[in-house]
């Protein structure tokens, strides 16, 4: 590993002897790695203790039990969530207050409700419940978020993949799929700093997704804006306004927007949000009223007092960035140091979010994850970013550096680079012994 990346010869240009020597080097490096007895975890996009500490004041809030309008937040009621909290996040998500609902602790639960009610009841403009369709298909940009796929799979929904590009999903491919097939009812997308690709859906792509003709009259964009304000640089990318774009394109009920404070305050004890057209919000609350006596308004008030305003949220996210950005830099440095110039891996340099997406040689991802595991470095299973956990090229690995402390990220990522170099060399030498 002592050769500077810029001076390296790509493995594909090396002689068989050089490759053998490289393989032996990597085996030695890997043996040393194994010998360290590491126990490191890069599997999930979890905030670190240091990030959670930023919100510790929440634990002793709220002061009092009345909101600004005099509502006793301890009692039942207020299905749509506390008005003051909805005001803050309406501003952050760029919608009107009556177009947003503040719910429980998980946007995943809200997505589940929206999916289930489409299945059992149908949406605002569905001709029938989706359960009564012969087939229901979702478009899935890949790589993507495993929990989206597993939820769809659990309900027997067919998944068709399209590539996730720098500017969002391959919108040409999407347009073609949705235009002719009425079974295509929806598409999940993480529009900002996508999991794991880091892509941001541009204004242009969003406008096409909002306006594209769909064979299904009730096609839905599940717009999971989980990382809307989770910037890693001072650039602070602005999410496309899918609600307004869809409305002006004549498809007002197409998007259902989700967001949460899971990676803003506490991962397990934040507040989730749903937004969309007024009819979408009315549809959602119209079904929710049979299933809920209202959200945890004490937690809503706690968050209102903690943030104070939308600017308070933005300032808080800067403190997160200061913790996270060095970890993401460490990932870049370790990958460049270990793999730069070898021509065996490509990785993203995200401007926000929680992930780095690493592509290794086709057929090597599972091997890399296995090698890392054996060396005590837990990675997300290869294929996790694809429907059914199956990466057809077995090349993508999702790296999640947020949870370990900085030194551990450095150590783990140096180890990952060793595993990638070893797996690539094994493949090239044709010796996976």
């Amino acid at each position: 590993m002592s050769t500077p990346a810029a001076d390296r010869t790509p493995l594909s240009q090396r002689s068989p002897e050089e490759l053998h020597a490289f393989l032996e080097e990597q085996r030695a490096a890997y043996a040393a790695l194994e010998g360290r007895g590491l126990r490191l975890d890069l599997t999930r996009g979890k905030p670190s203790a240091e990030q959670l500490d930023l919100s510790e004041r929440l634990l002793s809030l709220p002061d009092g039990h009345l909101d600004g309008r005099g509502v006793d937040v301890r009692n039942y009621g207020g299905l749509e969530g506390l008005a003051e909290l909805r005001e803050i996040f309406a501003e952050l998500l760029g919608v009107e207050v009556d177009q947003i609902v503040a719910g429980g602790n998980a946007s995943l639960a809200m997505m589940h409700e929206v999916l289930v009610w489409h299945l059992l009841h149908g949406g605002v403009d569905s001709p029938r419940p989706w359960k009564d369709e012969d087939e229901v298909t979702f478009v899935c940009p890949v790589p993507g978020y495993d929990r989206h796929y597993t939820m769809l799979e659990s309900y027997g929904i067919r998944m068709v993949t399209v590539p996730m590009l720098e500017d969002g999903p391959d919108v040409d491919a999407v347009e073609e799929i949705v235009r002719d097939d009425p079974s295509v009812k929806g598409m999940w997308i993480v529009p900002t700093y996508a999991n794991p690709a880091g892509s941001v859906v541009t204004q242009e792509v969003a406008a096409r997704l909002a306006a594209m003709p769909t064979a299904a009259p009730d096609f839905r964009l599940f717009w999971d804006n989980a990382y809307a304000i989770h910037h890693l640089t001072s650039e602070e990318v602005k999410s496309a306004d899918i609600v307004a774009l869809s409305s002006s394109a004549g498809n007002p009920h197409r998007p259902v927007v989700f967001a949460s404070t899971s990676k803003v305050t506490f991962a397990g004890s934040g507040v989730a949000f749903l937004a969309g057209s007024r009819e979408t919000v009315g549809w959602y609350l119209g079904h929710l009223k049979f299933a809920s006596i209202g959200p945890d308004k004490v937690n809503h008030l706690r968050h209102v007092q903690f943030f104070g305003s939308a600017d308070g949220v933005r300032e808080h996210m800067v403190a997160h960035r200061e913790v996270l950005a060095p970890k993401f830099e460490a990932v870049q440095e370790a990958l460049e140091a270990g793999l730069g110039g070898l021509g065996v891996a490509r990785w993203t340099t995200p401007r926000g979010g929680y992930f780095v997406s690493l592509d290794v040689p086709d057929g090597c991802a599972a091997r890399v994850v296995a090698l890392a595991k054996q060396a005590g470095i837990a990675l997300t299973p290869a294929g996790a970013s694809f429907p059914y956990g199956e990466d057809p090229r077995d090349r993508n690995i999702r790296l999640a550096p947020s949870f370990p402390v900085l030194d551990e990220v450095r150590t783990a990522m140096a180890g990952v680079a060793t595993c990638v170099a070893l797996a690539a060399a094994e493949q090239l030498v044709g010796d996976a012994s």
Copy 2:
């Protein structure tokens, strides 16, 4: 109203002249009532501010963010809920710790999940998802809880009623319905201090419900033990152990038990629980994992620290009783003072829970509620305790005295008695002018 109840002649035994005089008296009393310009609300079983204040210390908890096992409660994970909280409520509900899940802020949401997953997936032992059955029927003891009915109605589930008796649902009737009709998939029941009848399912009735043959192999008892520990007297009725009874009768997966702290701590910000056989809990978590990243464990820890133990919960419920019991006594006194001896009304004297069930002459309930409304006293709509909001005899009124302060309960209930007397007199005189 000045005649002592014991000295009154039942209205049915009075002459036409006496009835006319009585009607005039009640009209005068009602006019006086209207003149007071009241604004009182007996509609819902909501805890009062005084009750909520009993848990005010929760607002500044938890101390720290680690549970007794060192789990950082602020982060993701732990789908089944915090172990220490589950231990406390396992003891209170009489199940093992691995037979209980601690969830979000509403048992209604857990009931909804269980119903929806039966519809879309089927239960532990279902031959197929309930959505694929020609028809799904639930047995509904009446009077009962309106939210159970509206949830069933929202999913197009047929409801068949049986009378709710002193010792629980009319189990002869239930046995007959479930024995021959395979579409009968479930029955919702509030086993302890039922809403609104106040009945407690006895050991004998529970044993028969647990053991009765059912045509459907996957018949479910939705055992909504919302008031398990909500005693109004020192008697402290113990709920029948439906999980053990069903298990020993060979129907281990029949019951799904629900409970919550909605009326123990904060109505909107408590913790809900689900319990049942290990397979039922596994089934529930097996579906929940696609819809949740785990419950709000900070709120779980908050409750653990607040209660300390199951005994801590029991002591806390005594404090609730001290607030609630006088209000329920006031209801009894007002009804007896206004209606005793007239032979026009019967009402329950609950030993726990949140409701008094009042039966007025057939055909008079809606009139009483309308009269009360006009006099500024909001009552639960007549018929609310029946499926589709339709009381076939139009006689039942649910009284919920928990929310108003004691003086308001007295005032409101005296007013209700006046409305009942007036409506009864109107009917007898045949003059509903």
